[in-house]
Symmetry: C2
Subunit: 355 residues, 2 copies
Amino acid sequence: MLENAFGTPEVQGAYQLHELGDFALEEGGTIPDLQLAYATYGELNAAKDNAILIPTWFSGTHQTWEQVYIGEGRALDPTRWFVVVVNQIGNGLSTSPHNTDGDMAMSRFPHVTIGDDVVAQQRLLSELFGIERLALVVGGSMGAQQTYEWAVRFPDRVQRAAPIAGTAQITPHDYLFTKALLDAITSDPGWNGGEYTSSTDVHDGLARHAGIWAVMGLSTEFWKTEFWRGIEVPDYQFTSRDDFMTNFMEAVFGAMDPNALLVMGWKWQHGDVTRHTDGDLAKALGRITARTMVMPIDEDMFFPVRDCAAEQALVPSSELRVLPSIAGHFGLFGFEQTYLDAVDAGLHDLLDTPV
Amino acid sequence: MLENAFGTPEVQGAYQLHELGDFALEEGGTIPDLQLAYATYGELNAAKDNAILIPTWFSGTHQTWEQVYIGEGRALDPTRWFVVVVNQIGNGLSTSPHNTDGDMAMSRFPHVTIGDDVVAQQRLLSELFGIERLALVVGGSMGAQQTYEWAVRFPDRVQRAAPIAGTAQITPHDYLFTKALLDAITSDPGWNGGEYTSSTDVHDGLARHAGIWAVMGLSTEFWKTEFWRGIEVPDYQFTSRDDFMTNFMEAVFGAMDPNALLVMGWKWQHGDVTRHTDGDLAKALGRITARTMVMPIDEDMFFPVRDCAAEQALVPSSELRVLPSIAGHFGLFGFEQTYLDAVDAGLHDLLDTPV
C-alpha cells in the first residue's frame, strides 16, 4: 500500500466503501475483495423508482458531481432523486493499484473493463439498496462509456440514459490520444515499470501527461481568450498561462497515482459496447430501450459532436443535445454557468419524459 | 558532425547550398558560415519578376513541394515561374545542430527565429539571383509563419502572399502543443541533453513525438474512416492502424535529427510578427501590402480556421479560402486530389490578380 492523499475523504469529501467479495473480471483473473467507493445524495423512496446512478470519468471521483452537478433546484435534485455516484474501479478510491496488497498491487493490478465496472455497480445497487431499475444513468467521458454499457448490457434496468461528452465505442483517434497520455507516464524512468516507491517519483511523467491534456482537453479558444483567468479556485488567482499550467493542470494530475491513471486509461481504450454484438455497433446500440439524451460538448477535441451524433443516430429513442463550452472536454468541470444550465435543461427534459 | 541520411540528396533529392558567411541572429549570437539548402524550378526571366519563394515547414524540406505542389500545368508551374524553395535553418539540410562543428554543434546550436530565416532567404535571393521582389511567397505551417514574416518585414518585396495552414502569431494553444512535442524528445534519457551519439539513441522519444503528431496532426475522421488505407507509398500497403503508426508516422519522424526538431520547435513557438510592432497584431498585419490569400485547412486541429480567419481580417488586401482535407494539418502532404485542386485554384486566382 502506498500513501496518497488524493484518495482520502479529507481530499475527496465523505464516501463509503462497499465490499463485493471476489470479483471475476471480463479479461480474466479475479479481484479478491473488490471494494467500490460510493457516495449517495437524497433518499430512496419506497417504490425504489427514484434512483439515479452516476459513474465517474478518467481521473475523476464523486466529488466533482457533488460540487458541480448535484443540488436542490438542479436537475439532479437530492430532494427528489436518490443519487448514487460510484467511483470507477482503479480510480484511487475504489480498489486500485496503490491501495491493494500482494497479487493485485501496483504493476500487478489486472486489466479492468468498462463492463466490469457496470457489473460491479449493478451488484452494489442491488445488494445495498435493492435497486433493480434506474430512473437515469448519467456520466461524462468514461462515465458516458459506462452509461452506454449500462443501457446496452442491462436494457431492462435503465429507464433513461444521458451520456455526456463520450462514446459507446472507442474511436481510433481516442485510442491514440489515450496512448499518448499513458506513454507520457510510462516513459518516466521514475515510473519503474509500475514499481515506484512514491507517486512523486513520477512527477515529470505526470507533468507531461498534464501537458498533453492541456492541448487536447481544453480548446484553442480557451487558451486564446485566456479563459483560465476566470477560473475560481480558493485563495488563488491564476496570473499567466504557465501559472495555470503549473498550479492547475500539473497540480491536478500530479496528485494522482500513476498506476491508477494507467488502469483507467487501458479501460478507456477498450471501452466498446460491441463486445456484446461481435463488433456490430448498430446492433449493440439498437438494444437500448432507455430514453437517451446524447450530450456532446461543442468544443470537445476528442469526443467531437459528429462522433457522438453518429452513435445517437443508432439509439432508437434518443435525442442529440449539444452542450456549449469554450473549455472543450474539460467543460465537464462546470466552469461556465451556460454549460451547467444546458446540462440541467437536458436532464430536466429527459427526467420529465415519461417512460 | 553526426551521420544522418535524412539530410542527404540521396533521400531528399538534389539541392544546392548557398553560403551566407557569418550570420547574426535576432536572439543574439552568430552562426559562422551559415549555409542554406535550396532548390530551384524553372527559369528566372530577364525582368526578374517571375520569382516565387517557398519556405519550408516543421520537419519539412523542399522535397514535398517538388513532388506534390510544383509541376507543369499546376499553379506553381516551372514553365512560367521561377520557384525557389529554401530549407529553413536547422531542418537538417541547411545549417543544423548535427551538421556543424564546435560552438554550434548539437546542444550548443543557438536559438533561431522565423525572422532570421526570412532575412537569410532575402539575402540568398538577392546575392544569388538579384531578386529584389517576389511575385509570391507561399508556405505551409511554419512556412506560413515565414510567409507572414516576409509580408510584414518586407512589404515592398512581396507582391502576393499565401500562408497555408499557419498563423502570423503563435497562439497559446500552439505553444503548448509544440511544448508537448518537444517534451516527448527531451524526456528520452537517450537524448542526453542534446549530446546523443546517434539519433537512434532517441528512438523512443521520437516515437512518442510521432504519437502526439498522430493525435493532433491528422483528424478524428482520418482515423475513423481509416483513410490511411489509401495512402500510397512505394511497394507497401498499410494493413492496420498500428502498421501505419509504425511504418509511416514513426518512420517519418524517426529518421530526423532530434536536435533539428528542437531548433525548429523553438522557432515555431516564438514565431510572431508583432515583434515588429510591440505586440500589436493589427498594426503588424496592417503593414502588409501584398495581395494575400489565407488558406487554412478545414480539419486542422491546431491552426483552426477561426484563428486563421481572425488574422486574415486584419490583412488589408486579403481573402480567406478554406481548404478541404480529412487529413487535417497533414493535408499539407497532399494525400487528396480535392485538396491539391483547391490549393491550385487559390494560387491560380492569387497569381492571376494584377498587383
